[in-house]
């Protein structure tokens, strides 16, 4: 299940909905991304007062659905959720939730990491941070590209 929305979400309620009535699930791995109050600008950390998330309506939903389907092909999941917010957010606000349920702990963890890594490099979102120096567009990090690249190899089986 994927959702692209401006509103906040409730992690506990999302996990409860994901596992509701599915008693074959052994575990749920999640990752929740939050807005940080500091960000590197020209090499030094600067305070961030707010962040605006821009996205490409239509393509975003399409890419998220593709990424989710790929995770379900690679791992034996009993359910998955990707929720990504857009619009104006403040430090501490939730940005993204990825949750993967599986009978197998390692599958749930791996699928969750895979989804986060691909979200970072493939989902059409752009972050504009409000700093003392004005609005600064967040730049791609080389570590994110490297994290996504590792999944191009055959995933490890449990």
């Amino acid at each position: 299940m994927i959702r692209v929305q401006e509103e906040d979400f409730d992690i506990g309620a999302e996990i409860a909905a994901l596992t509701e009535g599915k008693t074959a699930i052994g575990g749920v791995a999640t990752f929740t991304g939050l807005v940080r109050d500091m960000a590197p600008v020209d090499g030094s950390d600067q305070p961030v007062s707010a962040m605006t998330l821009e996205h490409y309506p239509g393509m975003t939903e399409k890419k998220l659905a593709e990424i989710e389907a790929e995770a379900n092909r690679r791992w034996p999941l009993d359910g998955s959720v990707i929720i990504h917010r857009y619009g104006r957010l403040e430090p501490g606000d939730l940005i993204v939730l990825v949750a993967c349920a599986s009978a197998h702990r390692q599958a749930a963890f791996d699928a969750c990491q895979f989804l986060m890594d691909w979200l970072k490099t493939d989902a059409p979102f752009w972050k504009l941070e409000d700093t003392d120096a004005g609005g600064v567009w967040v730049e791609t990090r080389a570590t994110d590209d490297a994290a996504a690249a590792r999944w191009n190899q055959t995933p490890e089986s449990e």
Binding site: G33, Y56, H84, I95, P124, F125, W126, W137
Partner: protein
């Protein structure tokens, strides 16, 4: 053709979307970029770092040698930073 711009490309061009009539000799994404750059300083600034820009045709990532046609939706944007 519908063209969309995002993030700092949108800011530099001053438009989030526009509809254009493609000249007959514009048949790839690369051609389109060259043609857009010729339309003004904002476009030139937006496409300055041509190596880092990503393009999508009909909401799928494509390389710059991808063919385009007048009914396509094409988007240009900086590297994505979601998640």
């Amino acid at each position: 053709m519908k063209i969309l711009y995002f993030a700092w490309m949108r800011q530099r061009i001053g438009l989030s979307t526009e509809a254009v009539e493609l000249p007959a000799d514009v048949t790839t994404v690369d051609d389109l970029i060259d043609w857009l750059i010729g339309r003004g300083d904002g476009y030139a600034a937006a496409f300055e770092k041509r190596d880092v820009i990503r393009s999508a045709v009909n909401q799928d990532y494509v390389p710059f040698d991808h063919p385009i046609k007048d009914t396509d939706e094409i988007a240009f944007f900086p590297p994505v930073t979601g998640g």
